[in-house]
Amino acid sequence: MSSSPMECAAKVTPRPLANSIRGLSDRGIAWLFVAPTIFLLLAINIFPLIWTIYLSFTNFRANRIGREVKFIGLRNYERILSDPDIWQTMQATAHFLLWTLFFQVLIGFTLAWLINRKFKGNDMWTTIIVLPMMLSPAVVGNFWKFLYHPQTGLFNYVVQFFTGVDSSSFSMIGDVSLAPWAIVIVDTWMWTPFVMLICLAGLRSIPDYLYEAASVDRASKWRQFWTITIPMVLPFLMLAVLFRGIENFKMFDLVVQLTGGGPGSITELTSINLKREAFEKWRTGYASAYAVILFVTVFGLASIYVKALNKVKER
């Protein structure tokens, strides 16, 4: 006679363990299941965070393990917050963050609005538009490095075709004034499809009867767009801005592959600068203080966004 899976499980469970589990309450069993996750969370997230905060008050260097570690109070924070070079990287990050968000939201929403209209080849175009997002940032970085090449790159030839400027007269990643825009263009190219997909989800969630009712009331297309489309898509759009904002604040791989932070340090974003302090100069305590400053900034911004998102949802 065949037994049920529950009976099989009961048979193979060791007797002492089975006895002890049988004596547990529902709450006890729930804790038993949740405990490994909580332990992992503490070990992987909470402990490193606390350890980083501790290290930020010391002069610890990870390449000099035997050296005495001194508690130096807030000196690391003082140095970082009065260093004009780090201030410069913050400005580079702000430039990158603001312009990528602006272009991604603008182009992403426009593409979603166009794709949402039913036309022949709709699905094929969606697939083509989404392709850049599926590539590895390292591949995209190298790929655009070739495209930006002053002599052989396609990008310069396209600019020459449309503007008449000699293609070999400028270098997108070698020119101090153009390099910050070069990384903005690549990130926009890569991540606009992500914003488009989220906006598309928002647009498709709007019921048709709202537009029908607005048409019956003789609302113009423009009015329908501002009073139905935008308010209904706004929560989705804010979610996209939150995701992209946080991702771009800690952008690393794409920019390292593309410009390596150069020319000079004009495209050196905070995460690249942080990596240099931590793993090239080996100033671990200093880098920890730097990481804590970035963490608090991202955490604060995320709090504002979550609050704003909840308010929009309540509407």
Binding site: L81, P84, Q91, T93, A94, I293, T297, G300, S303, I304
Partner: protein, 62 residues
């Protein structure tokens, strides 16, 4: 404006969250602005106060 200050005195969540949000936003702007080094120096403490305040006041009654 009176409602805002009365909410602050009665420890209500809305006005306090608003104040914390303003501090965080101000701190981030101070951190990334290209004009005053002094504002950059004090940006972290402003953001930190705003963030900690946000965590605390989100437990206040509505």
């Amino acid at each position: 404006m009176m409602t805002f200050f009365s909410g602050l005195f009665r420890l209500r969540r809305g006005p306090w969250e608003m104040l914390a949000t303003i501090l965080i936003a101000l701190g981030v702007v101070m951190l990334m602005q290209p004009f005053f080094l002094l504002a950059y120096t004090y940006s972290f403490i402003v953001t930190l106060v705003g963030t900690v305040m946000f965590i605390i006041v989100s437990h206040f009654p509505e």
